[in-house]
Symmetry: C2
Subunit: 196 residues, 2 copies
């Protein structure tokens, strides 16, 4: 009998490194050679774990999203009677924005590939992302007066937009860290419950 395959474990071991490379470099610049180098293996080993580069990227999309959501759930789990979960999330993003690499991978997938499968993966992930935020807004508003407020769906999209612009401005150095924090907290608050 042959030795048992460790494909699954190896995949789990290398995926964080692969995802990190895609988030940092984008799709094209993360060449298979670079991916392999970062994983400290040879290219063809990656090809034994995934069918092609496209599959590596799709796995990375899911991985990065799950990582981000994991952190958000931790923030939500912190017991804090003063501030609600949604507010804590906003504050957390204002401080740690961009660290997950989520938006970088979205941008890369959107503009560097036109592969139907990648677009579908992005669509799915973005849908979950939006649903998560909308759920937080709903929880936040639960029991409060909501007349005159933005609909939850609209508010969730607008908050995702804040994240996008924060990402771009960070990458280009358009805002100071202070400015970006201010934008997140003030505009986020306004969208969340109508208070400037």
């Amino acid at each position: 009998m042959p030795r048992p395959s460790q494909t699954h474990e190896k995949r789990e071991q290398l995926l964080p490194l692969v995802a990190q490379a895609f988030a940092e470099l984008g799709y094209r610049r993360a060449t298979t050679a670079v991916l392999a180098q970062r994983c400290e293996v040879r290219v063809n080993i990656l090809y034994r774990l995934w069918a092609d580069k496209k599959a590596m990227f799709i796995a990375s999309i899911d991985y990065v999203y799950e990582q981000a959501v994991g952190i958000w759930r931790e923030v939500l789990a912190e017991t804090d009677d003063d501030t609600g979960g949604a507010e804590r999330l906003l504050r957390h993003e204002a401080e740690h924005y961009g660290e997950s690499g989520l938006h970088r991978i979205i941008f890369a997938g959107l503009s560097e590939t036109h592969e139907p499968e990648i677009r579908q993966a992005l669509r799915d992930m973005y849908g979950r992302f939006h649903r998560f935020i909308r759920g937080q807004i709903a929880d936040h508003r639960d029991g409060h007066e909501t007349t005159g407020l933005l609909g939850e769906t609209v508010a969730a999209w607008a908050i995702v937009g804040l994240g996008n612009v924060a990402n771009i401005s960070r990458e280009l150095g358009l805002q100071t860290d202070r400015g970006r924090k201010k934008m997140f907290s003030q505009a986020g608050r306004l969208l969340l419950d109508g208070r400037g």
Copy 2:
């Protein structure tokens, strides 16, 4: 004496086609071969007009931005006593969002290249973009009560964010046209003057 060079005219003639190709396809997919084909010339003719592909892209960034601003100025120039300029702009974008290709070219430049010169061009352009919107917000609020409203800088970034998310959702088919229109008008209005 030789015949006079028509380089300048030719550049102006081909730039719209080149920019259109970059906006549609992104940076890499708009290969020099494709660009030439769309211009109905041979590749090396493009290289007589611009030093390299990078220069073609930078010229396209400026061109697309100028085109977009030109349209916005037309919208602003329409005499309409009922609604202010900023409101008309928001409504216009809600209807015609994405047609200019501005955001597509920004995304392409951001995630497909790491060239310092391209990033600088994007930085400059984004700065002008933000300044333009901030100016419109200032005009809109001029003479009105502004206590309790978002600062102009923050509001302008948040509105740019609306544009970003509208672009992504359009590209992935995440929102209906109706939903996107609603998002633009409602969230835009809220950011503009605090009214839901």
